[in-house]
Symmetry: C2
Subunit: 222 residues, 2 copies
């Protein structure tokens, strides 16, 4: 009986997600859902991404957090549209649901937006189970989390289209085996795109920009 309820919730979410994607397609908005553990570097990566895209594109952000507006405030120094979704009023949920994204984007003038970034709740489990309506899911996996995380949290990697291996500036300090991490990602999602990035040194940031703009072009310029 409980499983039935869960399925009902999931398919309702899927339907809203599909509706939102259609809406984004109509308006030419390329929507990206950033997922990752708490502290994996999603917000910092988003700051770098905004800096990089701003000269050429209009950007909006939906910030998901259980509570606080800390991340939204960090982004408020940029000329971007930001909507904050706090899940505490919804039982402190550890994911964003499509209907909350739908409500959030109503805050924006959608005619003018090229890229929409959704920063999901910091969590390697729940967000993977709920579609947001975004065109692409990006998994930010930071080096200090360890090489075994893809094996331990496979779903988040399986539903993603790209893994950003973040904080790679710490490779030497942490004696981290990036190849092992990439191998483990391949095991759970063969052929997925991977980019090593560092907000600190700037490594990989241009590749990430190229990936984003190319994916957008594939979708809207054909």
């Amino acid at each position: 009986m409980e499983i039935k309820v869960l399925k009902k919730v999931m398919s309702a979410n899927d339907a809203v997600a599909e509706e939102i994607t259609g809406f984004f397609n109509e308006k030419g908005i390329f929507a990206v859902n950033l997922m990752g553990s708490p502290g994996s570097g999603k917000t910092t990566m988003l700051e770098k991404t905004i800096e990089m895209l701003l000269p050429d594109y209009n950007i909006a952000v939906v910030e998901g957090d259980i509570t606080t507006t800390i991340d939204a405030k960090k982004l408020s120094r940029f000329p971007v549209k930001i909507a904050q979704v706090n899940t505490l009023p919804f039982g402190g949920e550890c994911h964003l649901e499509a209907s909350w994204i739908k409500d959030a984007v109503r805050e924006f003038d959608l005619e003018t937006i090229d890229f929409l970034f959704i920063e999901n709740i910091g969590n390697l489990v729940c967000p993977a189970e709920f579609k947001t309506g975004a065109h692409k899911n990006i998994l930010v996996l930071s080096l200090p989390e360890g090489e075994d995380k893809p094996l331990k949290y496979p779903l988040a990697f399986q539903v993603s289209h790209l893994v950003l291996l973040s904080k790679v500036d710490l490779i030497d300090v942490l004696e981290y085996d990036v190849e092992k991490a990439e191998e483990n990602i391949e095991k759970v999602h063969p052929g997925i795109d991977k980019i090593q990035v560092s907000s600190k040194t700037g490594k990989g940031i241009q590749d990430w920009k190229a990936w984003l703009t190319e994916q957008r072009k594939l979708l809207f310029d054909n």
Copy 2:
């Protein structure tokens, strides 16, 4: 209607948790629930803890993971009892429930155990919502996760009795503000115990041992 179902699940879990605690009390088992983000250092800290306590105490471990037995295998080099709980057969839940702990500890000869460590699923949200029956909740917060995490994920800190600030050997590399992190912990849970630890340098490990043995003594030797 859904909220009603949720409450029912929660109170059933609470009842089982209470039952387990009574059982631990009867057998003189001091039970500790380790929570934290993926990659916060729970397993490594557990390895250090086992090394430290083994000469004087008998130890058992319940390893919680969505999938894999990677962590349990790491601990299998020690003469400790280990039971693995994988939640994938239970829908890939991001927390451990009391009834699963109850089943897991049945694997052990409980008469001989002094300390039981429960390593919860790597997650800063869900595990905080489900009692495990442990006497104490320990939150492992690693330096690379950033100073703002207590504000963003307050519940996990509020239900905990001690915060282990882990990977403090990275303070200089990460320009991390430990005082700010401790201030933020105080904001959400005033007066909570805090110990700075590093598995790499050994910092704080003796303080953590003292905390554990003292808490056990308070419970069973009075």
